[in-house]
C-alpha cells in the first residue's frame, strides 16, 4: 500500500504532469496532422526520453499514445481523410455529419467517446493486470513461447491483406532480430564482423526507419503525384446545429460501453491493435442498431463507436505488456523500447520488484486521460483550423527529428541503419507486406527464440514435457484452431483488413 501511494505521488509531480501534458499535445498534433500519425511521434520520441527519469519518460510516451487517439478524428470528420489509420472508420459518419453542418458536434462526440473509452480501458488495466501478473509468474519458457505463437498467428491472419505475406514479414522481422549474439553460446552471428552489430540491430533504428521514414518516403512520392490533400474541408458548421447535450450522451452511452468493451478485448490480445478495434466495433454498433441504414449517413453513434473503441485499446494494450512482457500492439511495442532504454524489463517481476513504478505509470495514465479531456475542449477546434498544413513543411521536420533522435540515442552507424530500414519500409509498403507484423516479429523474435531453445533443452526430447504443461498446451491448441478459423473467415471475405 505504501508503495502504491509512493508510486502515485511520483506520478503527480509537476515535472511529470508537464511532460504527460506535453506528450498528449504532441500526440494530438501528430495524429491531427496529415501524413504522420502518433506512432511516428512515438518512434521519434523514444530516443529523446533517454535523459528523463523512467517514470517521466514512460509518462511522456503514454501521453503521446493517448493524445494520438484523439487528434486523428479531426481530419477524418472535416476532410474525409483520416489523420491516422485508426480514425478511418470515423470518416463513415463523421464526414456526412460535417457536410450537413454538424462538424463541431461530430468533434464533440469524438471527444466525449475518446475520453470515455480511454477511462474504461485504464480502469480495466488497473483491475486486471495485478492478478494477471501473479498468474504470469507461473509461466515458464514453453508457456511464454506458446503465447508468442498465438500472437503471431492472430497478427498474421488479421493484419494486412494476405495471411502468407503477413507471416513472411513476421518471419523476416524475426530473422533480423537474431543479428548479434547467440544467447546460448555467446558466439557472434549474422554480424558480418561489424562490432556495432554485435549487440543486434537497435529497436529505435528499425522502428524509425520502417515506421516513420518509410511512411514519409511514400507520402512524399504520393504528394509529388498530387494524390493527397484533395479533400475539401467541410467546416465546423453553425452553432445551433452543433449543441451536444445530456440527451446526446445518453443516446451514445450504450454504444460507448459496447465499443469500449470491444476495444479492451482487442487491446488485451497481442497483435491487432486500435484500427481493427475501430472497424470491428463500428460493425457491431451498426448490427445492433434498430435503424442500421442510418449508419454511413451521419449517425452520431458511428463516430462514438469508432472513437471509443480505438482509444480503449490504449490502456488495454498495456495489460499483456506489463503482466507478461508482450506488447499488445505497435504503440505498446514502441513504449516497450522506452522501458528498455531505462533499464526496466516489463513482465511479472515488475509487480513484485517495481510496485512503485507500476503505480507511477498508472498515475501517469490517469493524468493523460484528464489532459485529453481538458485539452480536447480547445485543441480540436484549433486543429480544425490548421490541419491544412502543407506536407512539404510537415515531412522535412519529421525527417530531421527522426535522424537527430537516433544519433542521440545510439550512434552514427544507427543513422545509416535508419536510412536502410526506411528503404525497406518503403518497399514493404509498395509491395504490400505488412510492416506491423514485421516490427512485432522483430520485437518478439528474441523472446520467442530463447524460450523455444530453453523449452527444447528442458523437454530433453521427451514429449511428456509438453503434455505436463496444460497452459502451454491450451495456447498451442488455440494457435492451431485460430489458424484454421481465421483462414476460413478470410476465404469468406470477412477478415479485417488494416
Amino acid at each position: 500500500m505504501h508503495e502504491i501511494l509512493l508510486g502515485l505521488s511520483d506520478a503527480f509531480t509537476l515535472t511529470n504532469m508537464l511532460y504527460v501534458a506535453a506528450g498528449v499535445l504532441i500526440g494530438q498534433a501528430f495524429a491531427a496532422a496529415p501524413g504522420v500519425s502518433a506512432l511516428v511521434a512515438l518512434t521519434i520520441a523514444v530516443p529523446f526520453t533517454f535523459y528523463l527519469s523512467p517514470i517521466t519518460a514512460i509518462g511522456f510516451l503514454i501521453g503521446i499514445n493517448k493524445g494520438g487517439t484523439l487528434g486523428g478524428s479531426v481530419a477524418a470528420i472535416l476532410m474525409n481523410t483520416p489523420g491516422s489509420p485508426e480514425s478511418t472508420a470515423t470518416t463513415f459518419d463523421g464526414y456526412p455529419m460535417a457536410l450537413r453542418g454538424q462538424g463541431l458536434k461530430a468533434l464533440k462526440t469524438s471527444h466525449v467517446s475518446s475520453v470515455s473509452g480511454d477511462a474504461i480501458g485504464d480502469l480495466v488495466l488497473f483491475l486486471v493486470s495485478v492478478p494477471l501478473a501473479y498468474v504470469a509468474m507461473k509461466m515458464g519458457p514453453l508457456e511464454t513461447a506458446s503465447v508468442v505463437l498465438v500472437a503471431f498467428v492472430v497478427l498474421g491472419a488479421l493484419v494486412g491483406n494476405s495471411v502468407l505475406k503477413g507471416l513472411i514479414a513476421a518471419a523476416f522481422g524475426m530473422l533480423l532480430s537474431m543479428v548479434g549474439t547467440d544467447p546460448e553460446t555467446a558466439g557472434e552471428r549474422m554480424s558480418f564482423g561489424i562490432p556495432e552489430l554485435m549487440d543486434g540491430l537497435s529497436i529505435s533504428a528499425v522502428g524509425i526507419g520502417i515506421l516513420a521514414l518509410g511512411e514519409i518516403f511514400r507520402q512524399a512520392i504520393l504528394y509529388r503525384n498530387a494524390m493527397t490533400n484533395t479533400a475539401t474541408n467541410a467546416g465546423l458548421g453553425e452553432a445551433k446545429n452543433n449543441r451536444f447535450g445530456w440527451s446526446d450522451f445518453r443516446h451514445i452511452g450504450p454504444t460507448i460501453l459496447r465499443s469500449s468493451g470491444i476495444g479492451v478485448l482487442i487491446g488485451a490480445i497481442p497483435g491487432p491493435g486500435s484500427t481493427a478495434a475501430a472497424f470491428i466495433s463500428y460493425a457491431a454498433a451498426k448490427r445492433s442498431a434498430k435503424n442500421p441504414d442510418d449508419f454511413g449517413k451521419g449517425d452520431i453513434r458511428g463516430v462514438a463507436a469508432t472513437e471509443s473503441a480505438n482509444t480503449a485499446v490504449t490502456g488495454a494494450s498495456f495489460i499483456p505488456l506489463l503482466s507478461i512482457g508482450i506488447p499488445g500492439n505497435l504503440a505498446a511495442a514502441l513504449i516497450l523500447g522506452g522501458f528498455v532504454i531505462h533499464g526496466i524489463t516489463p513482465g511479472p517481476q515488475l509487480f513484485t520488484d517495481h510496485t512503485r513504478l507500476i503505480y507511477g505509470i498508472f498515475g501517469a495514465m490517469v493524468i493523460g486521460t484528464l489532459c485529453n479531456l481538458f485539452f480536447g475542449l480547445f485543441t480540436l477546434r484549433l486543429f480544425a483550423k490548421v490541419i491544412r498544413m502543407p506536407l512539404q513543411i510537415v515531412l522535412p521536420c519529421v525527417v530531421l527529428l527522426s535522424v537527430t533522435g537516433i544519433i542521440i540515442s545510439s550512434n552514427f552507424f544507427s543513422a545509416w541503419l535508419v536510412i536502410g530500414f526506411a528503404a525497406l519500409g518503403f518497399m514493404m509498403r509498395t509491395l504490400d507486406f505488412s510492416f506491423v507484423t514485421f516490427i512485432i516479429g522483430f520485437i518478439l523474435g528474441p523472446m520467442f527464440e530463447l524460450n523455444i531453445r530453453q523449452s527444447v533443452l528442458l523437454a530433453d526430447g521427451n514429449l511428456g514435457y509438453l503434455l505436463d504443461r496444460p497452459i502451454a498446451l491450451a495456447f498451442i491448441l488455440l494457435a492451431i484452431v485460430l489458424t484454421w478459423r481465421l483462414a476460413k473467415n478470410r476465404k469468406n471475405g470477412s477478415g479485417v483488413a488494416i
Partner: protein
C-alpha cells in the same frame, strides 16, 4: 606588437580572424588532456537491464556525474556475460569518454574460453565497485537443501541448471563430471529471468552472482553453496566451493575498464574519479544494504594485478581443457 603584424591586422581583419581561428583549432587537441571531460561519458553495462549489476552501474554513473560534472549515459549491451560489451569497448576510441562495467570474468576468463576479438591486454583496468556473491542456488521448494542432498537427488533424477555465461557452463560441467550426474544446461539471459525460472519451478538449480539475495528473506530461493573463496555474508551456514573439495573458486568483482591507450593524464583522472564514485556513500549503501554486495573497491594497480593472475589461471585451465 611588431609593426608588420599590426599593419596586416588593420588592413585585413578577416584574415587575422581566420588565422586566430586556425590557431585555436590547432591548439585545441593539445589542451584536450587538461580539459577532459568536455562532453558526456558513455558507461556501457554488460548486463541486461533490471538486474543487480545494472542498478549498481546506474548509481556509479550518478556519482561519477557529480565527480566529473558531465552527464554519464548508461547503455546496456547484454550478452555472453559481458563479452558483447567488452568487444564494443575494445573498438571504442581510447579517449576516456567510453568506459565499461562488467564482472572481471568477461576480461580475464572469457578470452581464453571462446573465440573472441580481444585479449585481457586490450584494456586498462580502472577500479572495482563490489564483490560478487556467487552462489549455487535452488528454489525454496526444491526437494534438497544441501550440496550432498542435491548430488543425491541429481544422481537419481538428473538436474537442470540455468547458466548465464560460458564460465558458469565450465563450472557445472566440472561438477557433473566429478560427481557423475547428468546436468542439462539451460541458457538464461539475466539474473532476474533465472530467479523467475527457479521460483516458477522450471529449472532445478542455477548460478547466481548475487541477485538471489533479495529472495532469501521470503524463502523463495535457497543457497546450496558459495562459489566464492569464502562463505557468503548473507548465507554463512552454506559451505564454500573450496570447502567442498574443489580446487577452484570464482571470487569476482563488478569492475570498470576502458580501452587501452588513453592518455596517462586522463586515465589518472578517470580512475581517481571512478575510485571516489565507487566508494561514495550512496553506492556503498546500495551495494551493502540493499543488494548485499560487499563494497570492496580495489585501486587500478590492485585490479591490474588481480586481472593478470586471473587471466593466467584461466589460460592454464583452458590449456588443460583443449
Amino acid at each position: 606588437m611588431p609593426p608588420a603584424l599590426a599593419r596586416r591586422g588593420n588592413a585585413r581583419p578577416l584574415q587575422l580572424l581566420l588565422a586566430l581561428l586556425l590557431a585555436a583549432l590547432i591548439t585545441t587537441p593539445a589542451q584536450a588532456d587538461s580539459d577532459w571531460p568536455t562532453k558526456p561519458i558513455n558507461l556501457l553495462v554488460g548486463f541486461s537491464p533490471g538486474g543487480g549489476a545494472d542498478t549498481l552501474a546506474r548509481l556509479v554513473a550518478r556519482e561519477l556525474q557529480n565527480e566529473l560534472e558531465q552527464p554519464v549515459v548508461v547503455r546496456n549491451i547484454a550478452g555472453g556475460g559481458g563479452i558483447v560489451m567488452a568487444t564494443s569497448l575494445k573498438f571504442a576510441p581510447a579517449d576516456g569518454y567510453t568506459i565499461g562495467l562488467a564482472a572481471n570474468a568477461a576480461f580475464d576468463g572469457m578470452p581464453w574460453l571462446t573465440d573472441l576479438r580481444y585479449t585481457p591486454d586490450d584494456f586498462s583496468y580502472l577500479t572495482t565497485v563490489s564483490e560478487l556473491q556467487n552462489a549455487l542456488v535452488a528454489s525454496g521448494n526444491a526437494p534438497f537443501s544441501t550440496w550432498e542432498e542435491m548430488i543425491a537427488y541429481g544422481r537419481e533424477h538428473g538436474l537442470t541448471y540455468g547458466s548465464i555465461s560460458p564460465i558458469t557452463r565450465l563450472f557445472i560441467n566440472m561438477v557433473a563430471e566429478k560427481e557423475g550426474i547428468r546436468i542439462r544446461i539451460i541458457p538464461m539471459r539475466g539474473g532476474l529471468e533465472t530467479m523467475n525460472n527457479l521460483i516458477g519451478g522450471h529449472i532445478d538449480i542455477a548460478w547466481s552472482a548475487g541477485v538471489h539475495q533479495s529472495f532469501l528473506g521470503n524463502g523463495k530461493i535457497k543457497v546450496i553453496a558459495s562459489l566464492n573463496k569464502t562463505r557468503l555474508r548473507t548465507s554463512p551456514k552454506q559451505p564454500s566451493i573450496t570447502e567442498l573439495g574443489y580446487p577452484v573458486d570464482y571470487t569476482s568483482y563488478f569492475m570498470l575498464a576502458a580501452p587501452k591507450g588513453i592518455p596517462p593524464k586522463i586515465l589518472e583522472r578517470l580512475s581517481t574519479a571512478l575510485y571516489r564514485a565507487s566508494k561514495a556513500e550512496n553506492v556503498a549503501m546500495l551495494a551493502e544494504k540493499r543488494m548485499g554486495f560487499p563494497n570492496i573497491v580495489l585501486t587500478a594497480e590492485e585490479l591490474e594485478e588481480f586481472i593478470q593472475n586471473g587471466s593466467e589461471a584461466y589460460r592454464q585451465a583452458a590449456d588443460e581443457l583443449y
